[in-house]
Amino acid sequence: VSDPRQRRREIPEDIEVADPGLARERTRLAWTRSSISFAAIGVVLLKDRPVIGAPVLILSAVVWSIGRWRRAPGRGGVARKRILFVTVCVTTVAIGALIIALAGPPSHGLRL
């Protein structure tokens, strides 16, 4: 995690030179959206199952911060570990959801 103020000093006057097509900015926003998706599931789980919901909320914060990691220049932003991390997180959440859905106590559902 780098200091954004320090980074701003390195950026040339033309944003298209520093970040062509704003690709980095859009990718960071995509990470933010993904972290919000994790947060949504975490908050929903927090009500009935805080033991599962709280770790998912922590995952959300981790995903958000991964999106803000600085990419090594010249490496093409290759990020296999981050990608693998997200895959493992989503799969783990799916397994937890499956356990809740199949083995959890019977729910009467939300009465509206």
Partner: protein, 140 residues
């Protein structure tokens, strides 16, 4: 998104804008950062799709009132949604790796099966949900 569907070029289309990114020497081996980042965003979009499917499955299992006289009804709809979410997550990682390799080699983008898998499975689950609902009402 960026034109990932077109053939990626090792030489960036606007080379003057990218020299600061890759450097002149590594430009021949390193792909244009924009293609790599677009690939990453595509993967993240599929991950969010997976999470949405998982959330939908959870909601059906926990928030939906049970179907009258069909106690297994909610599980039958929720389970394939969650399994599809997990499967799409793994498949999107495989696609990300494959696309990353393709970009690096400068080859044409390969065909993707993920949209078809998603559309077909969601359609089948929707029909399944309709069938469970009708069965629940008919057995009254």
């Amino acid at each position: 998104m960026i034109a990932l569907g077109s053939r990626p070029r090792k030489e960036p289309p606007t080379s003057s804008a990218d020299e600061g990114q890759n450097g002149n020497e590594s430009a021949s081996t390193e792909p244009d950062v924009r293609f790599t980042l677009a690939n990453e965003r595509t993967f993240l979009a599929w991950s969010r799709t997976s999470l949405a499917l998982i959330a939908a499955g959870l909601a059906i299992a926990q928030l939906l009132p049970p179907f009258p006289r069909v106690p297994w009804g909610r599980s039958v709809i929720a389970t394939p949604l969650i399994v599809l979410g997990a499967a799409l997550s793994g498949l999107s990682y495989v696609e990300w790796r494959r696309n990353q390799r393709t970009i690096r080699l400068g080859e044409p983008m390969p065909h993707t099966h993920l949209p078809r898998v998603l559309a077909l499975t969601v359609s089948v689950i929707a029909l399944l949900a309709a069938a469970v609902d009708l069965y629940s009402k008919a057995s009254r």
